[in-house]
């Protein structure tokens, strides 16, 4: 395994009973890369992300994130990563600023660091006037931008984004991607999942999981050439259709 990869998986495997959700996947993501992690529902993406973020132990295989073993050095890894889950990332009953303060505290920032970063973050997002608003009252697009910024509050080396743009309006969706580009330009590695195939084109490289395995990995241009496809949507459909049934039906 190379020392300077941001994320590295080697034969990473997870079984649930007789079902193999993630089947010996190996790949690496370079520092500062925007890496798209695609796959059909039930292909094993979420299980893989939970293993890479230290939330789930693998059945076998190895994962290193930020140069550390995710299982033997879990606490060190957690301090170096940010995670924005699709379902839950902010407390709706807290205000915008309270959420920032809470996460800053969890990540061990000092009060002064929290204040400074909260001010800067609110200013960058143009949310200063909404600092005292309950998160519940914010439009979804605002919430997702705030959740991303909060996942970045401790300046992680790698940020994992699980379907960050689902249901978001098309303008905000694009603004979100500009935030991703800006984070990557600042050296943060971005590991992102999406069901929007146009967004797959925005990644430096993408992997496509089918039935627990990585069926394809490369730059969008490479994959389109390899599968003789006009778009990533076509690449995706071709790969996922090749495995009609199996993965999807087995998923729970």
């Amino acid at each position: 395994m190379s020392a300077d990869a941001a994320v590295e998986a080697h034969a990473l495997t997870r079984r649930f009973g007789a079902f193999t959700a993630v089947d010996a996947i190996s790949f690496s993501v370079a520092q500062g890369e925007v890496f798209g992690f695609l796959g059909a529902n039930g292909a094993g993406k979420t299980t893989a992300i939970r293993m890479l973020t230290g939330l789930l132990a693998p059945t076998s295989g190895e994962a290193r994130v930020a140069g550390r073993d995710v299982y033997t050095q879990a606490e060190e890894v957690k301090r170096r990563i940010g995670y924005m889950s699709q379902r839950f990332s902010l407390y709706e009953d807290l205000t915008v600023r309270e959420n920032i303060t809470l996460y800053g505290g969890i990540y061990g920032l000092t009060d002064r660091e929290i204040d400074e970063r909260a001010d800067r973050l609110l200013q960058t997002l143009g949310f200063t006037h909404a600092a005292g608003d309950l998160v519940r009252s914010l439009p979804l697009g605002w919430r997702q931008k705030l959740a991303f910024s909060v996942a970045m509050i401790h300046q992680p080396e790698i940020v994992f984004l699980d379907e960050p743009t689902g249901g978001v309006d098309p303008i905000t969706r694009r603004q979100f991607w500009e935030m991703i580009y800006a984070a990557a330009a600042g050296g943060t590695t971005v590991f992102v999942t999406t069901h929007y195939m146009d967004e797959a084109e925005y990644c430096d490289r993408v992997s496509i999981m089918v039935a627990g395995r990585i069926a394809a990995l490369g730059t969008p241009d490479e994959l389109k050439r390899r599968y003789d496809a006009a778009s990533m949507d076509e690449v995706f459909v071709r790969l996922a259709r090749a495995d009609e049934g199996g993965a999807q039906e087995a998923a729970t």
Binding site: G39, A40, N41, G42, A43, Q86, T124, L125, G126, F127, A130, P139, L140, G141, W142, K145, E163, G166, G167, V168, D169, P170, I171, T172, R174, Q175, W177, E178, Y181, A185, H195, Y196, M197, D198, E201, Y202, P220, D221, S231, M232, D233, F236, V237, A240, R241, Q248, E249, A250, A251, T252
Partner: protein
């Protein structure tokens, strides 16, 4: 819209006039009007919070509007709710089946509520049900996302409704399953069913006969998807080239730039000058990019799609950061 009296054989499947609904200080629907013809697939395209779910709940008699009137199959959604309920099928956005009942038990239950049986309606749902029938003993809660969606569609169809309301049936569903789902809707439409469906995925507009673009509780435009794109008011260019992020910034500095957005492997540049030849604008932008140091870019006029139109009609999103 024609002002002539409607022919009874072509009475609208849905007719909505000035419908408004507020929740506290939020106007979920801000006075919307539209009609759906029988046998149409009519799509509501818009992001979360646009008002789609509130509208669907009003049309399926589950929520009463504050103002305006809504008729479905010629029946008023407030006064005639009992007559209407047996004739509409509704698939809510959130999974609303019984997770502890099996696939078959769920279907039997929904059939019995409407006084029928799964057996009697089998032919209608068979094209969809056959795909999940091998798992009919499985608890609904233990199904994959794609299978849950197919079961929910079967349950919405099992009483043979004349019109089907599907609230974001494809949200969070992968690109392949989404295509399959739309293929199924096409088959149901061919059988004569009227379908009203909502989605946040702009590219799914092409699967509808007509679409309404909805945001902030208002309808921005209603028409056939191609017709909406054809109305795009300004020159639109597709730009392809390396160094995307810098290219976006450079294009935004163009003195006549109205908007610049990434679009798959292209950027879409809208010029602020009206009534100018798009080819001339393309040549101008190409020359500008060369002068800015982007030599190897391709710039050409392109037809606007639904997503271009949607963004132009939306203007700036709320709380847009500079």
């Amino acid at each position: 819209m024609s002002a002539a009296a409607p022919d009874p054989s072509t009475i609208n499947a849905v007719s909505v006039d000035g419908v408004a609904k507020r929740f506290g200080s939020v106007a979920a629907l801000d006075g919307i009007s539209f009609t759906v013809a029988p046998g149409e697939i009519f799509g509501f395209i818009g992001p979360d919070g646009a008002g789609k779910t509130t509208l669907f709940r009003i049309l399926t008699t589950l929520v009463v509007p504050d103002a305006g009137t809504a008729r479905v199959l010629g029946l008023d959604v407030v006064r005639d709710l009992w007559a209407l309920r047996t004739r509409v099928g509704y698939m809510p956005g959130r999974f609303s089946l019984y997770p502890d009942l099996s696939v078959e038990e769920n279907l039997d239950f929904f059939a019995s509520v409407f006084g029928t049986t799964l057996k009697a309606q089998y032919d209608l749902i068979a094209p969809i049900y056959r795909q999940i029938e091998p798992f009919k003993e499985r608890r609904a809660g233990a199904l994959s996302g794609g299978m849950k969606q197919k079961l929910a569609l079967c349950c919405a169809l099992v009483h043979r409704p004349e019109i089907l309301f599907l609230d974001e049936p494809t949200t969070g569903v992968d690109a392949v399953s989404r295509r399959e789902f739309w293929d199924l809707l096409g088959e149901l439409r061919a059988g004569g069913l009227t379908i009203v469906v909502s989605t946040p995925y702009m590219e799914e507009a092409g699967r509808c006969d007509r679409v309404a673009l909805i945001a902030g509780g208002r309808i921005l435009d209603v028409d056939a998807p191609d017709a909406i794109g054809a109305r795009y008011p300004l020159p639109l260019l597709a730009v392809r080239g390396p160094r995307r992020f810098e290219l976006i910034q450079a294009l935004r500095r163009h003195p006549h730039a109205r908007s610049v957005y990434p679009f798959g492997d292209e950027l879409h540049y809208t010029d602020a000058r009206e009534a100018v030849d798009p080819a001339a604008v393309a040549a101008d932008v190409q020359a500008y990019l060369s002068a800015e140091g982007f030599a190897d870019t391709v710039v050409e006029p392109v037809r606007a799609g639904i997503e271009d139109s949607f963004m132009a009609l939306m203007g700036a999103p709320e709380g847009a950061a500079a």
